[in-house]
């Protein structure tokens, strides 16, 4: 009895699969005809990870205010200065992706995140110098899209690359460090021009908003 049921199920599965393949090949166009293969995109993301990796995260920084500084004579003999507002460019990201398969993309991003802070002489209030940190990242990525509609695309991404950090805070220095970007969920809405929102972790931001342009696509007739 069990053998009969198993045989019947397998037969049903084969028949269904065969019908589906036949149906797709004969009546539905290929994804290459439906979906664009190239896209260029621009996003802006929060600078939290970029700040954390360059010691600009104020609640995590080693240079935060020492509550004992008032009784700590060492500070008295340091330059009498105060920090002004730290400005951030946020993470500005531009990239390109190419759809290799319906669900698989390769591409890359370049990203910039900067922090700028004026430092003032306290007794005179005159600006003494500027401190800055520049973080340039190059991150090749692969994308796995799991909703592939002409108007809506949902995907996850992973990328590994490097960052060049250039900073001037007390001392000037430039160095290269590892950079990785993991996007848990990304959503694109639009046909040629689209808007996007992404949630992930990396120097491009934890949360990113942006827009992009798809090209070399073919509309299904």
């Amino acid at each position: 009895m069990k053998r009969t049921i198993t045989f019947f199920l397998l037969l049903s599965l084969l028949a269904t699969t065969g019908w589906a393949q036949s149906d797709e090949s004969q009546s539905e166009p290929s994804w290459k005809q439906q979906l664009h293969r190239h896209e260029a995109h621009f996003t802006i993301g929060d600078p939290i990870i970029a700040a954390a990796t360059t010691d600009n995260l104020w609640f995590f920084t080693l240079t935060s205010h020492d509550p004992w500084s008032e009784y700590h004579p060492w500070w008295w003999f340091e330059p009498d200065q105060y920090d002004g507002i730290t400005w951030s460019s946020f993470a500005l990201n531009a990239g390109y992706s190419y759809r290799v398969a319906k669900w698989f993309w390769v591409g890359g991003n370049v990203s910039y995140c900067g922090f700028y802070k004026p430092v003032y002489d306290r007794p005179t209030g005159v600006r003494d110098h500027y401190e800055y940190t520049h973080l340039f990242s190059v991150i090749p990525q692969v994308r796995f899209s799991w909703v592939n509609k002409p108007i809506v695309t949902c995907y996850s991404e992973i990328g590994v690359g490097f960052s060049v950090v250039d900073f001037n805070r007390n001392t000037k220095s430039t160095f290269v460090q590892f950079a990785g970007q993991l996007t848990f969920v990304g959503v694109q809405v639009g046909y040629k021009w689209y808007g996007s929102a992404e949630l992930g972790v990396g120097p491009m931001g934890l949360f990113r908003l942006g827009f992009g342009y798809r090209f070399n696509g073919h509309k299904n007739n």
């Binding site: 009784y71 004579p73 060492w74 008295w76 105060y82 730290t86 951030s88 460019s89 003032y120 306290r122």
Partner: protein
Amino acid sequence: MKKYIFIFCILSVFFTSCIWERGDKDRRPTQRGKEIHECWFAITDFVLNSSVQTAFYLNAWLSADSLGRIEIEDKYFSNQRIRVDENGNYLIYKGDVLRTSINTHQTLLSDNGSAWEVLSYDDDDSYDDDDDQLMNKYGFNDGRLNVRCVGAGCWEIASDLFISPEESSPMAGDTVSWNLRLTAATTPVKLSESAYQLEGAGIYYLGYALLNYQIDTPIQQAANQRGAIDWTGGKVSLTARMENREDIQVGAEYIGNGQVRIDYKGIKEDWDLE
């Protein structure tokens, strides 16, 4: 018009969202002078209101009759015990922890020529962390003070400290010392409520730095019931020193109403006396 308002809103959101950190709040020109003065003030306040204060409480207790002693114990030694050891030293315990040992040499602090040695011990339960830091690091030689009555209503408070030759200090290998001269019309009991005058000069040892002070004009404390230091007049000059660094000069003038006028790099500003 609507267009401009819209553009203004967009630009406002854009720029304010780009502020990553607000920066330092302490931007007043005399901030550093105020910090140096606060250090001197904290040490001096601690000297007066810990060891010296205990000495005056004990003097009041020794001067009183048996009924008066009970009253003083209830008021000033409420959770402490006074004991005398075999050498005649008065030992003040908090619980089972020895807080202070005072050698009175069988005299009263109000007696002209009396010289008391006051030795305070670390006690994590009785002092907060700030006081412990001051006690351990600054100005005291193992918590030992000498309080001498040098005239009617006049007491000299002094301490000295030998700095190890290995220590990174402008006076490594030397002895630094300081003194305060407290003058009052009557022998005080609770210093923070009594009227007195303070003079003195010396060096507080701050680890790898020194803080020289000179009271140029006697500091005046007004009698009050608030139980807090209320210096209404007087001037002190401070010089902070560290090896291979330029000296920092600060002037402080007590102007009453709980305020001090700090003179730092030629700029004068009033600050609350904290």
